[in-house]
Subunit: 147 residues, 2 copies
């Protein structure tokens, strides 16, 4: 089954700081969407909204050692049942973020779109941690009209 893969390095940021940006409502609001609510602990469900739609993610695993996994429990039909896997590795230059959005059923055009958008949001995460300012929705980088 096709996956979306990405990787960014967050310069001069610790794994702990990066993990916090992925596992707190405050952190998530700073790079993905300002409309983030819910319970971001393991077993909880986080609700990400983008105006007219969004995603509900169940936190399957949240390991401060550097692993985070989400299961999409509500959202666009193509996303439901897919998983999002984050792996963090710290070295002397910062923290590497390895990203996988797995278990898409088909490589539909929407998957192409989501792959490019994930890259924009990972750059937003990188920017948030490096400069204090990300580009979460609604101020996100648009790749297709208003999206």
């Amino acid at each position: 089954m096709p996956d979306i893969l990405h990787k960014v390095r967050v310069n001069h940021a610790s794994k702990d700081a990066t993990y916090k940006a992925l596992t707190t409502l405050d952190g998530l609001s700073g790079w993905w969407t300002t409309d983030t609510t819910g319970d971001s602990r393991a077993g909880g469900v986080v609700k990400f909204r983008f105006g007219d739609g969004g995603f509900d993610m169940e936190v399957l695993e949240a390991d401060p050692g550097g692993r985070l996994r989400w299961l999409v429990v509500d959202g666009p039909q193509e996303w439901i049942g897919t998983t999002i896997d984050w792996a963090l590795k710290e070295d002397e230059n910062g923290t590497v973020v390895l990203f996988k959005h797995q278990d898409w059923k088909e490589p539909v055009e929407f998957m192409h779109h989501c792959s490019t958008k994930w890259a924009m949001f990972l750059m937003s995460l990188k920017s948030l941690l490096e400069t204090g300012e990300g580009a979460p929705w609604p101020g996100d980088v648009k790749v297709d009209g208003a999206h």
Copy 2:
């Protein structure tokens, strides 16, 4: 076999203008790397260089109707034998670019990196066509240190 997928919309650009940015040395130099040489016609080989390395692409297909395919004939070992497939669709708002980098053998960490970099270069292509200015190497958006 895993693929890298992306999609961008180039606002207010025709399919012809987009096709030209993908099939002329001048166009390719404006969004991917300023060091682009070779023969960009079908059957030719284009050499893309990024300082200490790069890719040689054989142009398998170049159809002004909106399809372009490259075969990687030299470059990093993971890239050799992979293909890059571009499909262009024009509508009233511009041109949609559907991108696939296919036939990777394994979803290695380098593939994660290349997926994120392709997104940056597709945004560079979009910017070149929308504003007249892209961000080709060496002025490309870095996602991991100097890369």
